[in-house]
């Protein structure tokens, strides 16, 4: 007993901080767990049987994946550029990249509608080649891309910053062009960060609700469906779809995240 008191006395800070931290962890998980575990499996199963639900989930995953691929093609080069160059206003550019995270999603949706709708030349240009954004899959993709690409850019940038620039320099002296140095040295070494940023981007794309709601209510993605059912029929009817969606998100996220961390030292 005295020994235990002493153990506690020597760790007052750690124990206090642990308990405070536990409050926030519980705040995050209790709602999610409570919702998942208090659901009737039969109802969940029936809900999954609805073609409408399945196609909404499928559409969500698919659109977010396209957004992530676009993010990889355009965001990774930007991340590398920012990791390797210093210039006046770099901090400003970095702040700008975070802005989609902090702009209210409903307002972001309106801004995107404005540019990609048919009143502005961008929307018109795409329309002339047969791509429509309003109430169409491309609209969902750009809404997801807008809100989720900062996660990939930031993660990839961190990854590239951790690659010692002298490794690239050595590669150059060994006969590699800048491209070869990038593909044979920098990219493999930053790969883990890029992958984990992509997972975050994909998951964040799946989670988007506000911007998609405004840009493309239909075809209906799963987060919008949750809201629609809540609005039209109330909490009990919305819950099964919400549970399924949360489960899909969490399972995918945890699985891919552990893949990204695999073999890495904690």
């Amino acid at each position: 007993m005295r020994k235990m008191l002493r153990w506690v006395a020597a760790r007052k800070l750690t124990i206090t901080f642990f308990l405070l931290g536990l409050v926030i962890l519980l705040f995050i998980f209790v709602p999610l767990l409570k919702m998942v575990f208090s659901s009737d499996p039969g109802i969940l199963w029936d809900t999954l049987g609805e073609g409408e639900v399945r196609s909404a989930i499928w559409l969500t995953l698919y659109a977010a994946l396209i957004a992530t691929v676009v993010g990889l093609l355009l965001g990774v080069p930007l991340a590398y550029f920012l990791a390797r160059h210093r210039f006046r206003g770099k901090r400003f550019v970095e702040t700008l990249i975070d802005i989609p995270i902090v702009v209210p999603h409903s307002a972001a949706g309106i801004a995107l509608l404005f540019v990609f709708g048919q009143n502005f030349f961008v929307g018109k240009a795409f329309n002339s080649v047969g791509i429509d954004f309003v109430s169409a899959v491309p609209g969902i993709v750009i809404a997801m891309l807008f809100v989720s690409v900062p996660f990939l850019i930031n993660s990839a940038k961190n990854g590239f910053e951790k690659v010692d620039v002298r490794l690239e320099k050595v590669a150059r002296t060994l006969g590699a062009s800048p491209w070869q140095a990038f593909f044979r040295v920098s990219l493999p070494l930053a790969w883990r960060s890029i992958f984990s940023g992509s997972v975050m981007m994909w998951a964040r794309g799946i989670s988007e609700f506000g911007a998609v709601l405004i840009l493309a209510y239909h075809p209906m993605v799963a987060p919008v469906m949750v809201y629609e059912r809540f609005e039209e029929y109330g909490l009990d009817y919305a819950r099964p779809v919400a549970v399924i969606l949360i489960l899909v998100c969490i399972v995918l996220f945890i699985a891919l995240r552990s893949l990204a961390y695999r073999g890495e030292k904690a």
């Binding site: 010692d164 002298r166 320099k169 050595v170 590669a171 150059r172 002296t173 006969g175 044979r184």
Partner: protein, 348 residues
């Protein structure tokens, strides 16, 4: 042969200015300078990895100032090795060879030859993180040599190693240089390393080349106080040189008068190396020598050797081996005589 003409590099807080070097084929050339004197940047400029402000770099008669680093054929070894962590030792050595698109059989034989040369054949399948410091440095050397570079640039190759690995890699460097006759430029802040390896040494300080010469010249005839301090001369004086009888010269430092051999006259500096001073219990008189009586005021034990400070009252630092120290039975506070040749004093 490598020639650097009027090289100027901007380093932000200061700059390397008017660097002129001419390094002969097969030479082992040392650039010696304190930490933060821009040595790494100088090497990176030669390799084309750092933008130079003005000046020219010539390699075997061709100007390469604007040539991209991958086309210069210069091997580079960084201080902390910079091995590719995602590749095995073999992958590291193969990196440059693959770039050259050689036939596959040749690749294998080149790797085997280089790995054998540096004694890392048994490490080929290991990842860099599992190697010791000395092993990493040898792999980095093997990788740099794999492309048969015209020049090998070494950035403080020994300073991250502990004493035993340091001797080992130093020996390896001497062997490589002897066997491959590669031109080597090696930068360091360690004077002992410079003197052990260099054919010639350039001393870099405050952005300028202060002196270029053989180790012997830098060691014996420093051209400035900075170089003398860096070469650990330890006894550096300021005094006035004037004529003595019989055409000799006398250096006056306060009340003290020392016989020196020099044509120079006036207010000057002088350096005297601690190992050039003989300590004895009895006076040694000779016309060619300076002999002074003094007291041992400080003993600095270095293991095999000791540095003694003898106050005459001007302080002289003298080097003795432990054997002499013990045979003479020296102690702090004891009166001794110190003797050194007039020619051992270098006036500048």
């Amino acid at each position: 042969m490598i020639e650097i003409k009027n090289l100027t590099v901007d380093l932000g807080t200061f700059s390397l200015q008017d660097i002129n070097l001419k390094i002969e084929p097969g030479e082992y050339f040392i650039v010696l300078g304190p930490t933060g004197s821009g040595k790494t940047i100088l090497l990176e400029s030669i390799a084309g990895l750092y933008p130079i402000k003005s000046g020219e770099i010539w390699l075997n008669g061709t100007e390469v100032t604007k040539v991209e680093p991958e086309k210069r054929g210069i091997g580079f070894v960084y201080q902390d090795y910079a091995l590719f962590p995602h590749l095995s030792v073999k992958g590291n050595i193969l990196f440059g060879l693959k770039q050259m698109k050689r036939p596959k059989g040749e690749l294998q034989s080149t790797v085997d030859w280089i790995a054998g040369l540096l004694g890392v054949s048994h490490l080929l399948e290991r990842k860099p993180e599992t190697l010791s410091g000395g092993e990493r440095q040898k792999v980095a050397l093997a990788r740099a040599l794999s492309i048969s570079p015209q020049v090998l640039l070494l950035d403080e190759p020994l300073s991250a190693l502990d004493p035993q690995a340091r001797e080992d890699v130093q020996h390896e460097l001497r062997e490589i240089h002897r066997r491959l006759e590669t031109t080597i430029i090696h930068v360091t802040h360690d004077f002992e390393e410079a003197i052990a390896l260099g054919d010639r040494i350039a001393v870099l300080g405050e952005g300028h080349i202060l002196q270029i010469g053989t180790p012997e010249q830098i060691f014996r005839q420093p051209s400035s106080e900075f170089v003398a301090r860096f070469a650990m001369a330890r006894n550096i004086f300021s005094g006035e040189v004037h004529d003595a009888e019989e055409g000799d010269s006398i250096l006056s430092i306060g009340d003290l008068e020392l016989a020196v051999v020099t044509e120079l006259r006036g207010k000057l500096h002088a350096s005297l190396r601690p190992e050039d001073i003989l300590i004895s219990k009895e006076a040694v008189i000779s016309s060619a020598r300076n002999s002074l009586r003094g007291t041992i005021t400080r003993i600095d034990n270095r293991g095999s050797t000791l540095y003694l400070t003898v106050s005459t009252p001007l302080d002289f630092v003298c080097l003795v081996t432990r054997r002499s120290f013990e045979e003479l039975g020296l102690k702090a506070g004891e009166e001794v005589y110190i003797t050194f040749k007039a020619s051992a004093i270098h006036v500048f």
